[in-house]
Symmetry: C2
Subunit: 392 residues, 2 copies
């Protein structure tokens, strides 16, 4: 079906897995078999769909569809959870006239509740009828849970096109992967290069964000290529490969930032830039330590220029630092200078932070030449409210 | 002065370091030189007093006084911070007619503000006049910051007496040490055994608690012995040493639990017990991962039996687990059984958790015979409120 359209096609629908009347099912379909790259949660407690998608990746399977449901993570559901994934692949494959091993599955929502397969089946039957290249936005909307807005990024170049959408909001502290993100390109590229580009982009983007320091059971970033582009990348030395890598990083970065901006209850983005590190891993680790501090996040929520809480987080990672060398800036005001408090107007900075949508923390370790960035969001009453009654 | 009284003596006073009229200075004094053991924060960004106390410990100095101020952490204050510690030792030594190297210093409060030495001096002069064996409670009160109540534990045996007091509330996620805690005993014991007993007790108690996963710059646990007991411990094989160790663990455990109960904005204690681990370190690490999850803490605050959030935290530490073997109980109700959701009444458990002052999480990994415990507290609106305006 839909075989005349060679572009990626999308559909959204409703299974009734959510208590609200919002859509909870998205379908991505390609009539062309796609090269597939993926990065997954490192959480050992994870959903069955994570295992299934990893197996298909290992076997270098070509992919033609992704089925994504929200409202139920199908995690911690034992053997029944595994069966639900297989069954979903079978239903989708039959409806799309493809093979079950050409179908990837992703889920997000509450943990520990069995997936209602009757609902899934009805939802799939209705959704697949709506497949169209124009439905990107409604698919992006159907995968949301507590998110306030859909998150889409598109980049078109003369040689290829790259499209991505993602969801986030809570349980966001990815370890080698992040919440659900789906990326599509037409670039003709070997699987190994596609996978390497994705791994690197994820490390520099999704793995630098944190909403609540909780790592999900269902995180995954999937990248499909239908290989339709005229130009082809055959090896990693090709300048087009570098260009594709930077485009991929750019698209992932835009989506990662949107996840943090849409963090549960978040009012402000926290942008931490650490320089003067010996390695960029060190810089990233310290940046992420600051961006995920509850105390600092509360201070940002209140507009409180309490930089000492950021300073404290610099010292408690595994990275060796020298506190007498540290410089810290908050929104371009120097607050800590060579390990000494700087002179500045607290009242003025307080006012300024209160007005800022993005609070910038700049740290110089003065130990080397490498730098790194992390993104977080403030911790508000709404975060607590959201998360104090989700399951019941 | 006060030389006739051979017991530990205490005093409280006011320097004016806090904005409120509450006391902010405590003094512990012993006319007998004390054997001294200490465990300190592992945060590389830490207060000058931490370095000074560590130096005195390394030099095996006998101690006669501890000066503790609240309202100002004297951390991230550079060379001036170091001078403030030295100056405080000198002032106290002069007033107490002892040597500066017989004085330990501890501070808690806001980071990055210089200590007002004029205020410290006045406070010390007034406080030291009030030294008495009866002032334990007022000293325990003077070291509090956002704590709601003082935390004291005393244990008397026929052979020795052990007294301790502590403070906590926020920035509580100790790494090899915890917030300020002062322990006093009369047990005659070599320094090496005193230190070993303290290190072990801290690992099993203070290092298992978390309020907000933020590690302080000023954490320390100090144990002094004036060696007045008739019985003497000379080696680690002495049965009295085991008895002292268990008494010390008991006193530290009581104080650690009080810190969590008094966590900023906390309404409920979270008690996590992990069994079936290969090592007790593994068990403790997983217990602490659950006890410090923002998402799970919010669920407990709302009485939401959202056990999936606890399950997710089991998988994201460095400890290898098998999700298909996991059992989880919430307040004695089995919610996860051999990796499958258990059947239980959510409404009933929701009601029961709402009523509980202490929420118990029991996890069985079924991989070994070791177990471990961690304590945390729920995450409430009040935590956010407390911490959104502390500095300004």
């Amino acid at each position: 079906m839909m075989s005349k359209n060679l572009d990626f096609q999308f559909a959204a629908g409703r299974c009734g897995l959510k208590k609200t009347k919002k859509p909870d099912l998205a379908v991505i379909y390609s009539s062309l078999p796609c090269t597939y790259a993926g990065v997954f949660t490192t959480n050992q407690v994870h959903a069955a769909c994570v295992d299934e998608n990893k197996t298909l990746l290992k076997r270098r399977k070509k992919i033609r569809a992704i089925i994504i449901n929200s409202g139920n993570a199908n995690a911690c559901t034992g053997k029944k959870g595994i069966q639900a994934v297989k069954k979903t692949q079978q239903i989708a494959a039959k409806l799309l006239k493809i093979k079950p091993h050409e179908v990837l599955i992703a889920s997000t929502g509450v943990i520990g509740i069995y997936l209602d397969m009757e609902k899934m089946k009805n939802g799939l039957e209705n959704s697949i009828l709506k497949l169209s290249s124009k439905n990107l936005k409604s698919a992006a909307r159907a995968i949301l849970t507590t998110d306030r807005f859909e998150k889409i990024a598109v980049k078109k170049t003369k040689d290829f096109k790259l499209t991505g959408f993602t969801k986030g909001a809570g349980m966001i502290h990815p370890g080698m992967a992040t919440m659900l993100c789906f990326l599509m390109t037409d670039l003709k590229i070997p699987q190994s290069l596609l996978q390497a580009a994705l791994r690197s982009a994820v490390n520099d983007t999704f793995n630098t964000i944190s909403v609540d320091a909780d790592m999900s059971t269902n995180d995954m970033v999937i990248l499909l290529s239908n290989n339709r582009s005229k130009k082809e990348i055959t090896n990693s030395k090709d300048p087009l490969y570098s260009y594709f890598q930077s485009a991929l990083r750019e698209v992932c970065c835009r989506l990662a930032k949107e996840i943090v901006i849409d963090g549960e209850g978040a009012k402000k983005l926290i942008n931490v830039q650490v320089s003067g590190a010996k390695t960029s891993e060190d810089a990233k680790e310290i940046a992420r330590s600051i961006a995920s501090s509850n105390l600092f996040k509360c201070a940002v929520f209140g507009g409180d220029p309490n930089w000492g809480r950021a300073a404290a987080r610099i010292g408690c990672t595994g990275v060796k630092v020298d506190q007498s060398k540290l410089d810290i800036y908050l929104n371009n005001t120097k607050v800590f200078s060579d390990g000494n408090p700087a002179v500045f107007s607290k009242a003025k900075l307080n006012k300024q932070i209160k007005k800022s949508k993005e609070v910038k923390v700049i740290v110089n370790l003065k130990l080397g030449k490498k730098s790194g960035t992390a993104f977080g969001c403030d911790l508000s009453y709404e975060y607590v409210k959201f998360n104090s009654a989700y399951f019941t």
